[in-house]
Amino acid sequence: MKPKVAVVVFPGSQDDCDAAWALGSVGAEPVMVWHAERELPAATGAVVLPGGFSYGDYLRCGAIARLAPAMEAVARFAAEGGPVLGICNGFQILCEAGLLPGVLRPNVQLEFVCRDVRVTVERTDTLFTSRCEAGQELVIPVKHADGCWFAPPELLAELEANGQVLLRYAEEVNGSLDRVAGVQNSDGNVMGLMPHPEHAVDSLLGSADGALVLASLVDAARERLLAAA
């Protein structure tokens, strides 16, 4: 069974087609959802918010996109326990929407970073990393100007205690606090990450490690749909 995974497309989204292609390559049926839609397609098993520069990154990255009608549907889906993955700009949108903790700020070096980076998998008992091995180092590219994740000290301590940091940079990339590359919400069904797994699904592209993250999500989507059937 090919689970349906909705890819939300905002004005300024850029990696929506890559995300759809990559999801298809790991066994999903990707469905594009325009930001003005008020409902997700019937039998959606998971949602991906892709990378890009929604609304030109005006005001703050993700601050305008989180007001899109489709985001209300995504918030309802998340509240029902549906798996939601935000990649790069998608991560920024989820933080601004309050669906994920923290905020993404300009890179500490004030430069756009575009290269393969190493990230360490902190946990594998999650909807987003189940195909990975504990402590596994993944090579996945980043390309962002605002990837410096920040949370106040008390929030950071809570997230670390709850094990909500799923991916951590194994090298200095952007000044991200505690080298956070990806976090999930306290319920464990919403995750955001700055690296682009959809750009690393074939060794011809330099790495296929991103496929592990996307395939984990597709597994979760399939399980959710089978459980509902």
Partner: protein
């Protein structure tokens, strides 16, 4: 009524943009201390009541204009 919202990085929050401007000003020979970079938002409001205007602007800051994790806002109302 017109208003201006000044958005600044909160005290204690690292401001790399401010630091870059600070070091550039020093390179130009200006003897400056710390520089912080924020954002200025001019808003025209329909209401003429200062209390109502302030209340609206505070809601705007909470819902969109600032991210309270990292930014603090100061509201200035233009006196008629």
């Amino acid at each position: 009524m017109k208003a201006t919202v000044l958005v600044r990085p909160k005290a204690g929050i690292l401001d790399p943009q401010g630091e870059a401007v600070e070091s550039s000003l020093r390179k130009l020979g200006f003897p400056v201390g710390a520089v912080r970079v924020g954002r200025l938002i001019d808003v025209e409001l329909e209401t003429a009541d200062p209390a109502e205007a302030r209340a609206q602007l505070e809601r705007m800051c909470a819902e969109l204009l600032t991210n309270p994790l990292i930014e603090a806002a100061e509201i200035e109302l233009e006196s008629a």
